[in-house]
Structures are given as C-alpha cells and as structure tokens.
C-alpha cells in the first residue's frame, strides 16, 4: 500500500511503477477493451493468461478498489446497449492518468525484454 504522497509525486506515472502484476493485467485489459464490468475483466484476464489466472470476486474487487483509490481507474458512466446489460452492473475504465501509468509500465517491461534478448535468453521477435 502506498504511503501518503504529496500532490506532485502522485501525478508522475513513474512514481507508480513497478505495478503489481495483477494491477497491470487488469489495467491492460481495460486499456484494450475500453469499459468493462467486473466479470468481463475477469474473463479477459483469464483468456489472455490461458486460464491460468482466474480472478475471484473478492480479489478482483479489492484490487479494483485499490486502483480506484490510486486513481488509475474509475467508474464509467457509459453503458452498452440496454439488452446486453444489467442495470446493476458497474462498468470501469482507465483514467487518463491510468493510461499513462500502464504505458510507463509496459515500456519498462519492454526494456527488460530487450535486455533478455540481448543476453540471448529470449529469441528476438520482429516488431509487428
């Protein structure tokens, strides 16, 4: 849990990285798919980790609350079409700040991958 930081610190994306892997996963999925509700996030995460991470409700929403407190994501006021929706579902999306943080983290990971490639641990993949 982050301590109480001053205003200036908190606005710098760099102060929030490295992110926990679970945080990064959730934020990344949101970055990819826009507004999602809790169950949807869980499904996305499960899909992209080939079923190895299946979030339960408690862990998921605790994380969502934490990310909310850290202002990395927020509740979305937009709703998809009425038929596919339940009035009671809550939808979440990245905040702009959250987007910057995800980007910073992704960049950090890419740097690490590059080091692994140069050390021949990982076969270099051509940029897509």
């Amino acid at each position: 849990m982050a301590g109480i930081a001053t205003r200036a610190d908190r606005d710098a994306p760099d102060s929030r990285i490295p992110l926990r892997s679970i945080d990064f996963l959730i934020l990344l999925m949101l970055a990819r798919s826009g507004d999602r509700h809790g169950y949807g996030i869980m499904q996305d995460v499960a899909e992209h980790t080939n079923g190895s991470i299946e979030l339960e409700a408690g862990s998921l929403y605790r994380t969502i609350r934490r990310l909310q407190d850290d202002r990395l994501l927020e509740e979305s006021s937009r709703r998809p079409a009425a038929e596919s929706d339940d009035e009671r579902r809550r939808y979440y999306r990245l905040t702009p700040f959250g987007k910057r943080v995800v980007a910073a983290e992704a960049a950090r990971l890419r740097r690490l991958v590059r080091i692994a490639e140069s050390a021949r641990i990982l076969a270099p993949e051509p940029a897509r």
Binding site: G58, R62, R88
Partner: protein, 916 residues
C-alpha cells in the same frame, strides 16, 4: 457514488453468498456488494452451463477460499483508507459533514463519545441510575461472593504437590478403616503406588510453659506422610525414616496455630522440649499456617512408629491411608491393583474375614475426599444466585426499555439528523456497559465484605474456607460477569432503541404507540414471565431444602438434648491406672450434683452424635470361642450411673445402672433395641449374656434394654450398641477409660454452671484439661451445620428472587396503566364500573404469573430432580411444596398488580382523554 440498491438474490446459493458478504466491511459491501453478487451469479450460470450438478459444487471451494483470503484484509484496507482520508481532510481544512461522521463510525473517538454520552445519561437521572445500580450491585455482588467460595473451595487446585496423584484409601463397610497388617501388605506389595502412608488420630494433654493444660488433637503419621503431601515446613524439618522406628525417641511437629497460640511463634522452639502427656518431646518442625491435613483442628503430628515385626492384630481397623500414585497410573488402575492384592485375604486369613464380607478398597481422589461433600451444596447455591442475577438483569432491562420509551422523541430527532440505527444501538449498549461496570465494581466491593461475613457464619465443616478470598480469578470472573450482564440487559433495549426510519415517532403525541410501542410492551411482558419462571424454580429448590431440613430435625435422636451441658475431661493417664479414674469421676459427679440448678449428671466415654464409634467383636449366650469372621459385633460405650436419666434416654425393658454395679459386683450390660433385634430376634434380651471375643473376658448379663440412640446423628441409622458401667469396664470391656464426657442436665441455661464445674474438676485434679464445653443442643446443631447454612442462604436467595420478580410485575403493570390512561378513561366514561377496570388490570398481572408459573414449574421439576441427593424424606416433585410456591407467587403477583390497578380506578375520565 451510486445509490446502494439491493439486488434481489436469486436462488439459495446466491442467498448464502449474500450472507457471506457480511464478512467484508460495510463500505466495501456498499460499493461492491451488488457487483460481487452479480459476479457470483455469472460464475454460477457459466458453471451450470458446463456441468449442471458438479460444476457449481466445485465452484464453492474457490469462493470460500476467496472469502478467507480477502475479507479480513479488506477490513484492514477500509480502516486505513478512512484514516488516510480523514488525515488528508484535516490537513486540507474541510469541515466534517454528516456523511463524514458516518465514515468515522469505527474510530476510537466515537467510542469515547459514546462513553461521554453514557456518563451524562447516568448522572442526568440520578434516581433512575440509583435503582439500576442498586439492583446490579446486589445481583453481581451476591454472585461474586458465592463464586469466591466456590472458587476457593472447589475450583482452586489443592495446595499439595501433584494433587492429582494423591488418593485416600479406606475399606468398604464393615471394616471402614485399615488395620496395621493390611497397611503393611499394601505398602510392601502395591506397585501402582509410589509412596504410601498411614494416619491415625488421637488426643493428648499438653502441659507446661506456665499455661493451662490443654487438650490437643494429635495425628500419628507414618514415614512418607509429609513427602506425599509435599508441603514444606515453615520452620525446621520433617521426620526422618529413623524417627518412625518403634524404639526411636518421640519427636513432634507443631501446627502453625498451636505454635502461634502457645509458643508465641518463636522459631527457637526447634530442638526444645514440650511436655506431652507428662513426657518431654522434642520439637523438630512447624508446619505453615495453611497446612491442615488431616484436619484443621490438628495441633501436632507425631510419627506412627509401627513395629513391622510385631503388628497389631489384623482385625483392629483404625488407620486411614493416603497414597501417591506412580506416574502415569490411573486412579481406577490403582484401585484395581489394591483390590487384587486384598482378594486373597479372605482365603489367607479366614479367622479375620468372613467370606460373605470380603475386603474391598474404598478409595477416593484426594480432592473428592476433601471437598466432595460440599460440592452439591455449593453448586446449588451458585445456581440460585445466578438465577437471582438473571432476574436482576431482567428488571434492569425492563427499566432501560421503559426509559428508552421516554427518550424516543430525542432518538427520533437524532436519527433524522443522520445517526444510524447501529450507532444509536451502540450508544445504548455503551450506556449499559457503563452501568454494568459501575455496578460490577460496587458489587465486588460488596462481595469483599460479604465473603468475610460468609466465612464467619459458615460452619467449619466446609473445608478450605480459610483460604477463600476475593483474588485474581474472582476479579477476572467479576469483570467478565459485569460485561456479560451489561450485554445481557443492554442488548434488548439497544435493539429497540432506534426508532424506525419513518417520521412516525416525531408526529406522535409523545406516548409510545404504533407498532414499535406494542412490540416493546410484548417484550417487557415476556421478560417478566421469564422472571417469574426463574423465581419459581429458586423458590421450589429452597422450599424443598427447607422441608428436608425440617424432616431431618424431626428425626428422633433417642434422647432429649435441651438444657444439657457437656464437656470432655482428660485425666493424665499415668496417674490413673486401673479403675482409679472411676473413683475420681464419681467424686466429680457427686459434687456436680450438688451445684444449684443441676437436675442430674453422668459420664460417657463417647458423646452421642459428635464422637465417632468403634465396633467390637463379641460372643453371646455362652457361644464357644470363634474367629473374628464368625462373630457378631456391636458398638461399646462406657457410662456411669445417671447417664441414661440425664440424657433422657428411654428404658424399654429391665433396669438402668446404679452405684451397686461396681467392681466386684456381678458383671452387667445394657443393650439397645437394635442389638436386641439383631442378636435375640423375636425375644427379650434380658437375661442374655455378652462377652468380648477374647478368652479372659467374663460374661456380662443383660439387665436392661434401651430405645435406640442415633449415635451418628440424624442421618445415620443407630448401630447395635452395648453399654457397660464405667466401674466394670476394665473387666468386661478391656479397659477403664480415663477420658470421659460429663453430661449435666440443668434447670436453666446450661452454660451458667460452667465455671462451677470447672472449679470442681480442678480441685479434684488440677492437671486435667477441660475441652469441648458445649450444650447438647449445640452439638446436635453442629452436626447439621453445613446443611443449615446452605439452606438458609438458598432461602434468602429465593426470597430475594421473589421480591425482584414482584417488582418486575409491578413495573410492567404500572407502566401499562400509564400507557392506557386514555383507554381507561374512555371505558369509565362509557360506563364501565371501576371494579371491572380493576379486574381487567389485575387480570393482566395474573395472566403473566400463570404463564410464568407454568414454565417455572416445568423448569423446577427438572432442576430439583438434579438436586435430589440433597433432599431428605421429600421427593423432588413434592406437591405440597409446589403448591406453596404457586400460592406465594400468586399472592405476590396479585399484590404487584393490584397496587397500580388501584391507581387506574381513580382515573378521572375527562382528564385522561383531554390529556391525549
């Protein structure tokens, strides 16, 4: 934040999930509760789609694990979030809003706020608080006092080393105690026992030191006795094994009491001599003040000094045996081994043991032996006082509910301003806790004094009483008890305190009406019914104990104890060989009979009811010598002429002793009816002959038969008894006793002649101490003292319970009258006779009492059944007692209802309706 809308759970599993969500903190639930339920719903649906039955089941372990992993951390998160938020807000300088106070709910400041509010509430209505505190102080104080006794006597571990391995060993009747050869056998052969020791009792004369001669109680103990108990001496040392050998010089160990009393607690007493029975004995040790085995009246321990090469006859049973079991041996295992050892004795010693009366060990765990008899009494008292406390709690709950009614407007305003129901409930609970803690503290102080009072009143037959005090476990118990009672009587008012969310209360005219008011009234009535039930149970138990005591006292002891003075005279044995003691006692009696106010006097070797008895083997009517196993036995008593007349014992046949029955005259004996029925069934014993089972003893002729005397007290059947004239005892009954009890019947108060008797005895024998100076009435009372004590206490609690229940009924009915003033006024205005109104209200009280009685009688039958071991000659469901209890409660209920009902009949109808 969006509105917290409760989703309706669909199906059983979702409902369960919903309940489990309460493990999370409230703010989390408010925000995510719905979402999580939906989440769960979706998971369930997907699982069902995969496998209809199995998959949902497989889902639950993951779900439960999720709760385990996250619910508690989520609570921490919530606390820290709120802390952080308030701190940043404080630094930002924002003013707290109502919503903020809701978020701060859990913080310490609210607890302090609650306490301040509660303290204000306590002091704002002093009369109300005084009644509540008084009720609580009495209830908690009495409970703590009784608990102190239970803790000190029963719960605390014994002060001996490894008390669970200690046991007391005796034999089943008819043998009772253990003889020297039997003890030697156990000692030599028992493998399950690590250490074993024998104990015998006696008395001795202590003289010298410039003080009055004193009769002291002596305990003779074999080697290992002190080591078994494991309590070190205060000064000096234990006996050495050599000092337990037959020819060793006698050494003694003093009790703390004797050491303080007679030797001024001087530690240099060690190594000095003390004159016991005329002989100097060296003191080697002094025991600490709380060491009181075998009894708190023991003044001195001496070595038993058994001669293992030449033990007393196997038939002489007088030793009590204590033993420490080997480690890891169970009580049952040890008893089994001992019984296996003695199973051969009937075969090996046919002269001593009759085959139809085999030797069986009667063993008890040490703790049971010491405190077992007091257990049922003490637990009955604890139960009764707990009931009284419960009734007190109900009364306080009712009082708080009534006050809650009066504050509903105030609470409604607070709710409208944003205080949550839970907050209000917590405040009421805090108030209750404060009442309970203050009442508890006062109660502990009351108990502290009460315990002293109890110990002073209590009979010495309750063991370990000297150690009872209000100590740490008792204080801990009081704290838990106080908080528990606070919770108990506070819970219901707390739950009912917060009015419902609608503005209904504010619109009312100030009287409790509407749904909630009615609910509270119902609740209060239910509470009163429970009070009545509890009081019924307590009264039934007390009533049966009282009946038992009365039955006990009405048992005919066989003599008339009024106006008899008794005391024990102990002559220095060395100066009174043979029958010289007889002459001295005759002189004493002659002079005593000359004292003004003395009607008659006599002496007896063992005082009925108080002193123990022996059982000697005899032959009758010229029967040939036989073995102990084949011979009958009876209890021997040595008496002077005048004894039977003085005691008021009735002669059935024949004659009593006279001065003519002296040494040299024909040998005579008097027997009791039990002995006559046993040994001369169907005919008179007169003319029959009795002799001791030993070749030299002469035959004694039965010259009289007396009606049975209950030598063992009220509850013990009279044994077959034979009485020998003191003057002939040395011939017909082995020896002339030098210690005798004087019994003197007086015109007026027996104690008024004590100094005159003392003077006479000292003139005739200055070195003879007088002991146990009491009236016979006191002796008889002492034999039932612990029963009397607990019966009196129980009766006291029962009356207290009845009074409290009566107050409870009064409170509820009275309140009902106030509530219904309007209705009553209306009825009267419409022409109802005032008598009818009276009957209406009294009828309510009676109805409550009837329901309470019904439940109470059912409960009482169950409770008294469990107490039936304490009752004497009365069944646990005795109808007369039940009827008396029903009538008592009925009368109290009628009275408690009638008083407020009278108030109702003088209601001015116009005034009542106008006030509305």
């Amino acid at each position: 934040m969006t509105e917290f809308v409760r989703t309706k759970p669909r199906g059983m599993q979702e409902r369960v999930y919903r309940v489990l969500l309460h493990l999370y903190p409230r703010d989390f639930r408010q925000e995510f509760g719905d979402a999580m339920t939906e989440f769960f719903h979706d998971r369930l649906a997907r699982a069902r789609a995969a496998h209809p039955i199995v998959a949902p089941l497989l889902l639950w372990p993951h779900v439960l694990l999720d709760f385990v992993r996250n619910a508690l951390p989520a609570r921490f998160d919530s606390m820290l979030r709120a802390l952080r938020r308030s701190r940043t807000r404080a630094t930002a300088g924002r003013t707290p809003t109502i919503r903020d106070s809701r978020r701060k709910d859990w913080m310490l400041t609210t607890i302090l706020q609650d306490m301040r509010y509660a303290a204000r509430g306590l002091t704002s209505k002093p009369a109300f608080s005084a009644i509540v505190l008084a009720t609580l102080t009495l209830g908690i104080g009495a409970t703590v006092a009784i608990f102190s006794v239970v803790n000190g006597v029963l719960l605390r571990p014994l002060p001996y080393a490894e008390p669970r391995r200690l046991m007391l060993i005796e034999h089943v009747d008819p043998y009772g105690t253990v003889s020297e050869p039997e003890f030697a056998d156990y000692r030599r052969q028992a493998r399950s026992i690590e250490k074993i020791a024998a104990v015998a009792y006696g008395s001795a004369n202590l003289t010298g030191g410039g003080e009055e001669p004193e009769r002291i109680r002596v305990s003779r103990v074999s080697d290992g006795f002190f080591q078994i108990l494991g309590v070190p001496t205060q000064v000096g040392r234990f006996f050495t094994p050599d000092e337990d050998k037959p020819n060793a010089p006698t050494v003694i160990i003093l009790s703390h009491g004797l050491w303080q009393r007679r030797y001024a607690a001087d530690s240099s007493i060690i190594g000095k001599d003390v004159i016991v029975n005329g002989n100097p004995r060296v003191v080697v040790g002094v025991m600490p003040s709380r060491f009181d085995y075998p009894s708190s009246s023991i003044d001195m321990w001496v070595p038993l000094r058994l001669n293992y090469d030449s033990l007393w006859t196997r038939n002489n049973h007088y030793l009590t045996v204590i033993a420490k079991r080997a480690p890891n041996v169970t009580f049952a295992g040890s008893v089994a081994e001992l019984n296996a050892l003695n199973s051969n004795w009937t075969r090996d010693y046919p002269d001593t043991y009759a085959p139809d009366k085999p030797v069986q060990v009667k063993a008890a765990e040490f703790e049971d032996a010491l405190v077992g008899k007091s257990k049922p009494y003490l637990y009955a008292l604890l139960g009764a006082v707990a009931f009284v406390l419960l009734i007190a709690c109900v009364n306080v709950a009712n009082l708080l509910l009534a006050r809650g009614e009066g504050r509903r407007k105030e609470l409604a305003v607070r709710t409208a301003l944003g205080a949550s129901r839970a907050r209000i409930a917590r405040q009421v609970l805090t108030e209750s806790a404060l009442y309970a803690l203050v009442g508890g503290t006062l109660g502990v102080l009351l108990a502290w004094q009460g315990v002293r009072f109890l110990i002073a009143l209590a009979p010495s037959t309750i063991p370990r009483l000297g150690d009872v005090r209000v100590d740490f476990p008792v204080l801990l118990f009081s704290l838990v008890l106080s908080l528990g009672t606070g919770f108990l009587f506070g819970l219901v008012p707390a739950l009912k305190a917060a009015p419902d969310a609608s503005g209904e209360t504010l619109k009312e005219s100030g009287k409790a009406g509407g749904q909630q008011g009615r609910g509270i009234t119902r609740l209060r009535r239910a509470l009163v019914v429970s009070e009545i039930a509890l009081a019924t149970i307590t009264l039934c138990a007390a009533g049966l104990m009282l009946r038992s005591f009365a039955n006990l006292q009405s048992v005919d002891l066989g003599f008339r104890p009024e106006n008899i003075l008794t005391m024990r005279v102990s002559l220095p044995a060395r100066q009174y060989p043979d029958d010289r003691a007889v002459q001295l006692y005759q002189s004493i009696l002659d002079r005593v009979r000359g004292i003004a106010g003395v009607r008659s006097a006599g002496t007896v070797g063992e005082l009925p009811v108080r002193d123990g008895w022996s059982s000697w083997s005899i032959l009758i009517d010229g029967a040939p010598m036989t073995s102990v196993a084949g011979a009958p036995a009876a209890m021997p008593m040595q008496v002077s002429p005048g004894f039977f007349e003085t005691m008021g014992i009735t002669l059935a046949r024949g004659r009593l002793f006279t001065d003519a029955d002296r040494n040299g005259a024909p040998i005579v004996v008097i027997v009791n009816e039990t002995m006559e029925k046993m040994l001369w069934p169907g005919k008179s014993a007169l003319g029959g002959t009795v002799k001791m089972l030993n070749p030299q003893s002469p035959w004694a002729t039965v010259v009289g038969v007396i009606k049975d005397v209950r030598e063992g007290g009220f509850l013990v059947e009279p044994p077959p008894s034979m009485y020998f004239p003191h003057a002939q005892a040395g011939l017909s009954a082995y020896y002339w006793p030098v210690d005798m009890n004087l019994v003197i019947r007086t015109q007026g108060d027996p104690l008024s002649i004590v100094s005159a008797v003392r003077r006479i005895v000292h003139e005739l024998e200055p070195a003879a101490p007088l002991a146990r100076i009491q009236t016979m009435d006191d002796v008889v009372a002492a034999s039932v003292s612990s029963r009397l004590f607990s019966t009196q206490l129980l009766a006291g609690f029962a009356i207290l319970a009845l009074v409290l229940a009566g107050i409870g009924i009064y409170g509820v009915i009275s309140y009902g009258v106030t509530q219904r003033t309007f209705e009553i006024g209306l009825r009267i205005a419409l022409g109802a006779p005032r008598q009818q109104v009276l009957r209406l209200i009294v009828g309510e009280g009676v109805r409550l009492a009837v329901v309470g009685l019904a439940i109470g009688i059912a409960g009482a039958l169950a409770v008294t059944r469990s107490m039936r071991a304490l009752f004497v000659d009365v069944s646990s469901g005795d109808p007369r007692t039940l009827l008396t209890v029903i009538i008592s409660i009925g009368v109290v209920a009628l009275l408690a209802s009638w008083l407020p009902a009278r108030r109702a009949t003088v209601v001015d109808p116009m005034g009542a309706m106008r006030a509305q």
